[in-house]
Symmetry: C2
Subunit: 207 residues, 2 copies
Amino acid sequence: MSGRKVSERTIRRISHYARCLRTSRANGDRTVTSSWLSGQCGISSAAVRKDLTIFGEFGKQGSGYDVDDLLVQIENILGTCDSPSIIIIGAGNIGRALLKSGLEGTGGYTYSAIFDIDPDLVGTKCAGLTVKSMDDIHNTVSGFKKFIAVIAVTMGEGQKVVDRLNEAGCRSMLSFNLEPLKLPEGVEIRYIEVSTELDMLTHSLEK
Amino acid sequence: MSGRKVSERTIRRISHYARCLRTSRANGDRTVTSSWLSGQCGISSAAVRKDLTIFGEFGKQGSGYDVDDLLVQIENILGTCDSPSIIIIGAGNIGRALLKSGLEGTGGYTYSAIFDIDPDLVGTKCAGLTVKSMDDIHNTVSGFKKFIAVIAVTMGEGQKVVDRLNEAGCRSMLSFNLEPLKLPEGVEIRYIEVSTELDMLTHSLEK
């Protein structure tokens, strides 16, 4: 399935299905219906069925979808059957909050390491991990098959971090920093921007 | 300009222009060129000029755009010339990290209040604000002309919070919770979902 072009919107919906299926599996459910997924995700049943048939015939009319089978298929599409390690760069407010909140039970990811450039923070503990120096990054990530770096550093420090990550072979980043970051070809970055989300909500309030 | 249909993608780009313009204003710059905005935002100059002409003729060929004028026009479009108050629901890891990180210098917003249901947290201080009880929400927001609620509560508590916010007249929410939340018509919600962003990056890594 990998290499197949799937739109960002579809991946987003499928990611939501995966989350709901993990919850239902944790609750001991064996099967789910498209109308249940529809209700959980706020997407029409017809759209859910259409999404799921893109990748093959998972469900049987009337009897619903087998939770385990569907989740395996979806995780194959997402690539989360073999989840990348997640590292956090920046042990400030946001970095520490992400680590404390954790990712278990949602996407099947775990935070594997946290780094900072501040010598006062290096060596301190947070949610069971010891904050490492940025100098250790190459050494740490060399043990990972694949990884994603979450960037949560002070404004103005983003590009330096990205350059260090590139040297360490990082191909995938999620940035909480608002700075526009320059990346070499083939490296993917996504941004989580609270102030842009607020701008979009504010614009809607004006209507 | 309000009421005009502007696409989400356009609003997102305009939000980025506004952020760059605030930085250049803080640096004492009087004018900026479309190629400067292009470089800062990672968007082509032609696309920047096209975006800006949608809303009228702000710039003069060759002399660039007046920073103050352009920012006023953009803030009129976004509605951030008269920014809504931002409240946080949930004084846990994420809520406190957001408050400590602040919003000044980015979107022109400020966090006005933080609430929690946990009596152990109510009354504690965080970044200069005292955590209020959810029972005070109606009283607090009645003093605001308009407001947006940022939801950062424990998994499973989201819908209860949304219901309380609806009772208090909230029309706009930004949720860090992964639960799908049910809202009455006319209430807008946006989600910040770290695990979905990671799923999208993981899918790209597979290609």
